[in-house]
């Protein structure tokens, strides 16, 4: 069986949709972060897969950038999450409704 770009793109799409699904349906904020990481990975996979057919390797470079940004994002997000938890004694996203009222 021939593995083509299409295959990677489909896998990436699956990752994206799965991450999105996790973001949408899980109540816990940490879980949501997991989903976001998953979606970022989907992007990375795309970049890497495209760069396989690109001599400049720009795809990989951007994937690395993306990983770095994702790491920084995760750190910041967790810091925010901890502060929220301190304030609201909850990590449930539904409880964060102050702006609603």
């Amino acid at each position: 069986m021939e593995i083509t770009l299409t295959y990677y793109l489909m896998l990436s799409a699956f990752l994206l949709c799965a991450g999105l699904l996790i973001v949408l349906i899980k109540k816990n904020a940490v879980f949501v972060l997991l989903g976001i990481e998953l979606m970022l990975n989907a992007a990375n996979l795309n970049l890497v897969a495209f760069s396989k057919f690109d001599p400049s390797l720009d795809g990989q470079i951007f994937a690395i950038f993306s990983v770095v940004v994702a790491a920084a994002e995760a750190a910041i997000a967790l810091a925010i999450l901890l502060n929220i938890y301190k304030t609201y004694k909850s990590s449930d996203l539904d409880d964060l409704d102050t702006l609603n009222y």
């Binding site: 083509t4 299409t6 799409a13 949408l24 001599p55 990989q60 470079i61 790491a71 999450l81």
Partner: protein, 164 residues
């Protein structure tokens, strides 16, 4: 041979992700996530992107996941309590996501992006390093600055609340 490997690692990615979707336990989900990240790294290797695979393992599996697990432990309500999360809007979310996936699939299928010809082998790490400091120097600097800001910001946020 290699295609079977790819399919096998794909399963290593997909199955933990499905588990993540259906489970309520965050810790287990985090472990499953780690597994799927490792599977992804393997895919990268098979895609001849070794540097990317290394970065994936080091930063994601080593850094981000550990960070997340700390986050899970720190936000546990009380000792001994199950690390359980609840689901919401499952049907809607699943529906939308499946529709989206179907769209993507059909779109990808229609797009005709079906490259098969592979490039010649290169010294990837060297090429990437030169690119960083030449073509992509601005991006590199910005990423560095971003990391600094993120570091300071995270440290600041993680401080005691009353000092804000």
């Amino acid at each position: 041979m290699s295609s079977w490997l790819i399919i096998g690692f794909t399963l290593v990615i997909v199955v933990p992700i499905l588990y993540m979707i259906f489970t309520s336990n965050i810790i287990r989900a985090a472990y499953a996530f780690t597994l799927s990240l490792l599977g992804l790294a393997a895919i990268y290797v098979l895609l001849k992107a070794e540097l990317m695979a290394v970065v994936q393992i080091m930063i994601y599996a080593g850094g981000v996941v550990v960070l997340l697990i700390f986050g899970i432990m720190l936000t546990r309500r009380q000792k001994g309590m199950e690390l359980v999360t609840l689901h919401r809007d499952v049907a809607l979310g699943a529906g939308f996501c499946m529709i989206l996936y179907a769209l993507f699939v059909s779109w990808i299928g229609e797009s005709g992006l079906a490259f098969t010809e592979e490039l010649v082998e290169l010294n990837q790490v060297k090429t990437i390093g030169i690119s960083f400091l030449t073509n992509h120097i601005l991006s590199f600097e910005i990423i560095a600055f971003l990391l600094l800001v993120a570091l300071v910001g995270a440290a600041f946020l993680a401080k005691k609340t009353d000092s804000i």
